[in-house]
């Protein structure tokens, strides 16, 4: 009995000490030689199978002896788990990222892969969202953009021409009056998470800011006091005050309550996405491709030209603790190879980063979107830090409820933007 107690004590101490030792062992990859570990939140889903098979086959051609393991993490905890991995300096060799703030906040843990991806630069679009200070950190897989979708049936009901939606803001507001008289809302809006304002800012950005202001914004020189920037927030408030949005926007989840609202024909427009969710393929469940239109942003500031706001959506980056960055970068490149991306577009319903893919089968909305990629620009909100975006979400809710002024909003955002 006593001996047993001693034994179990020895065992527990031994285990505990072993646990201690490995916890402080930092800066290593979890994988052994000849194996790469990939983290993402897509590989567990059925649609990803053919994509992954093709990517793996492409990688096998370059590194036949290297095994690749995909670990699918739940998306809502992905960055929490990744944060823990980064903190301990141990984790996957290659990992999936959302473009923009999510990857830029974490470049300390990544290897720049600029030199490895030189060959792909022409074929793929969306690099900007995965770059910081001129260095590229991930290969884009999909493009994420913020087109304005509209329901052609509602346009017909309101005696508007579905083939030519409004091109100026004033005409748009007039159209929305007609739509309201026909019994529908103008916008399906979900701003519970504070995401609505991000889509708004990016969708309306190209026609509200001048081209020079737009480029300066993306380059990091943001003048929050410019009248056009204020105008963005004034219009947001105006759509709320004029009851153009669906009711209870601040308590409606964008994913997917507001999209369901649009899809079920209760609202004429929605600022949606072009990949993953809330997009053409999702809507097609109830809105057939002929009924779904994509319009350019109506012009707010005279002299501006509408352009599609888009960035790299998701991409694969290489961790700085991986043993062979070149090999890991090769895997990231294989995950963006032409064949693999073709499968991703077809199976997942995403606009892939490879703009040479033929999308003519998917309906007029997709064709419009892809046609606009050439003249498209990076989205305004993607250039902001996660902290500023989070603050903007809360301020946008206050604008809708009327408890804050536009001047105060831009003041707070400017302070947050300059601090971060």
């Amino acid at each position: 009995m006593r001996q047993r107690a001693i034994w179990s004590a020895v065992l527990v101490v031994g285990l505990a000490l072993a646990g201690c030792g490995s916890a402080s062992d930092s800066g290593k990859s979890t994988s052994s030689d000849g194996k790469l570990v990939v983290w993402d939140w897509k590989s567990g889903e059925p649609f990803a199978k053919s994509y992954l098979d093709k990517a793996k086959a492409d990688f096998k051609k370059k590194h036949p002896d290297v095994e690749v393991e995909f670990v699918a993490q739940p998306f809502d905890q992905y960055y929490t788990l990744l944060g823990a991995a980064i903190q301990s300096g141990k984790g996957p060799d290659v990992m999936m990222f959302n473009g923009g703030g999510q990857i830029r906040d974490r470049v300390d843990a990544l290897v720049p892969i600029t030199e490895y991806v030189a060959e792909d630069k022409q074929r793929l679009a969306g690099w900007e969202a995965f770059s910081k200070d001129g260095k590229i950190y991930a290969t884009p897989v999909t493009l994420q953009g913020y087109p304005i979708y509209y329901n052609k049936t509602i346009y017909q009901k309101a005696n508007l021409d579905p083939a030519s939606p409004a091109t100026t803001w004033d005409k748009f507001v007039a159209d929305c009056d007609a739509i309201a008289k026909a019994g529908s809302k103008c916008f399906a809006l979900g701003n519970k998470e504070g995401v609505g304002i991000q889509f708004w800012m990016s969708s309306m950005g190209s026609t509200t800011l001048t081209a020079a202001e737009y480029d300066a914004w993306i380059a990091g020189k943001r003048d929050w006091n410019s009248p056009n920037v204020k105008r963005l927030f004034q219009l947001w408030k105006e759509t709320g005050d004029k009851k153009m949005n669906s009711d209870g926007a601040n308590s409606t989840a964008m994913f997917n309550d507001s999209f369901a609202y649009f899809q079920s024909g209760k609202a004429a427009h929605v600022m949606g996405l072009m990949s993953d969710v809330g997009h053409w393929q999702d809507f097609n469940e109830f809105l057939t491709p002929e009924k779904l239109g994509v319009m350019k942003a109506p012009v707010v500031t005279a002299g501006t030209t509408p352009s599609l706001p888009y960035d790299g959506g998701i991409g694969y980056a290489v961790a700085k603790w991986t043993k062979d960055p070149k090999m890991a970068a090769d895997l990231a490149r294989s995950l963006s190879s032409a064949d693999a991306l073709k499968s991703f577009y077809a199976d997942a319903g995403a606009i892939a980063a490879d703009t040479t893919i033929d999308v003519s089968q998917a309906g007029p909305a997709v064709a419009t979107i892809v046609g606009e990629l050439k003249s498209g620009k990076p989205a305004l909100h993607v250039a902001l830090s996660s902290k500023t975006i989070d603050l903007m979400g809360r301020l946008s809710q206050q604008l809708l409820s009327g408890s804050i002024t536009v001047d105060e909003v831009v003041k707070q955002l400017a302070a947050s933007d300059q601090a971060g």
Binding site: M1, R2, Q3, R4, A5, I6, W7, S8, A9, V10, V12, V13, A16, G19, C20, Q77, Y79, T80, G83, Q87, D105, R106, D108, K192, E193, G194, D247, G248, A249, N250, S251, T252, S386, K387, D390, G393, R394, Q397, Q398, S401, S403
Partner: protein
């Protein structure tokens, strides 16, 4: 359980057991000594420590050590300053952040609402105890929500409280305009707390009913014979007799409110609208997971820990005092 020197004679030292080589010299030494009983006594003296060692180690290594690490981490920086000491910088930032102040003031609101959260199951249990018509039915029905997960409860109430949901439809039929239950910053927190109380009062109700089981029925009868009204019975007989039960429910309800609202918040409001329903837990989660600010999150955790410590100590004091009164 027979321990001590009767055992070794029946079962010799386990030197021969598989894998025992590492400790066998020690075992031999103690076994080979001529004055075996003394060695046995010494081992016996250590036995309790060895027996509690696993538990102590688990607490020290898995609880206290990470706790100290977290506190230590809260004094370091994030991002580029990772690992360097920033003194009280994180704490200054926290108290400068209106969102964190909202989270703290919401904790205060929870404390203020605590009497309501205790009174509801208390009153309902009283009615059941006094055998209102249908009390058997209510007794089982009241407990139902306690077995639902917060996520399911949150999803149900999301539907019920939606702007175009059934509750507003019912109000509309009475001519009352729709209320944005979860979209109005002045209302949302009360709705979430209300749903939390709805979801968890079943457990407190059971505790109250158990307390009632110990109530002296003769006292109640005597009060009735003396012509006491219901209000007088509750105030002068039931509440004094149940003092300890009430205190216990206070303690457990407080802990429940401070530690298990995350699921509801996450599903029902995501901390919104306008950040009005943030609680420290949710703030910690956002900073660590979404903002990549683990050090700041550590500082917020440390503050939450201090709050819980104070609340916990106060409650222990309270329980001790009521124990003495008995």
């Amino acid at each position: 359980m027979p321990i001590g020197n009767t055992q070794p004679s029946v079962r010799p030292a386990s030197a021969g057991r598989a894998g025992g080589a590492a400790v066998s010299p020690a075992a031999h030494r103690s076994g080979a000594r001529p004055r075996r009983t003394r060695g046995g006594l010494r081992a016996e003296r250590y036995a309790p420590y060895i027996l509690v060692l696993p538990a102590v180690l688990i607490i020290v290594l898995l609880r206290l050590y990470p706790l100290l690490l977290g506190v230590n981490f809260s004094f370091t920086g994030d991002g580029a300053q990772n690992g360097t000491s920033v003194g009280f910088g994180n704490y200054r930032e926290l108290f400068g952040d209106p969102l964190f102040r909202t989270a703290l003031s919401n904790v205060g609101l929870l404390v203020l609402l605590l009497p309501v959260a205790v009174a509801i199951p208390g009153l309902l249990a009283t009615f059941i105890y006094l055998r209102v018509p249908g009390h058997r039915f209510y007794r089982s029905v009241y407990f139902f929500p306690a077995v639902l997960s917060p996520v399911i409860v949150g999803a149900i109430f999301n539907l019920l409280l939606a702007f175009d949901g059934p509750l507003n439809a019912v109000l509309g039929s009475f001519g009352v305009g729709p209320v944005d239950w979860l979209g109005d910053p002045d209302i949302a927190m009360f709705m979430v707390v209300g749903v939390h109380i709805w979801a968890t009062f079943g457990m407190a109700l059971v505790v109250f009913l158990a307390g009632f089981a110990t109530l002296d029925a003769a006292l109640l009868d005597a009060a009735r014979v003396d012509g006491a009204s219901l209000r007088q019975v509750v105030w002068h007989v039931i509440i004094p007799s149940l003092a300890r039960t009430i205190q216990f429910v206070f303690v457990t309800t407080m802990i429940g409110m401070l530690t298990s609202m995350f699921g509801l918040l996450f599903v029902m409001t995501s901390g919104g609208p306008e950040g009005s329903t943030y609680l420290p837990e949710y703030y910690i989660w956002i900073q660590q997971g979404q903002m990549n600010r683990p050090a700041l999150a550590s500082a917020a955790s440390t503050i939450l820990f201090m709050i819980m410590l104070v609340v916990g100590l106060l409650q222990i004091k309270l329980l001790e005092r009521s124990g003495k009164e008995d």
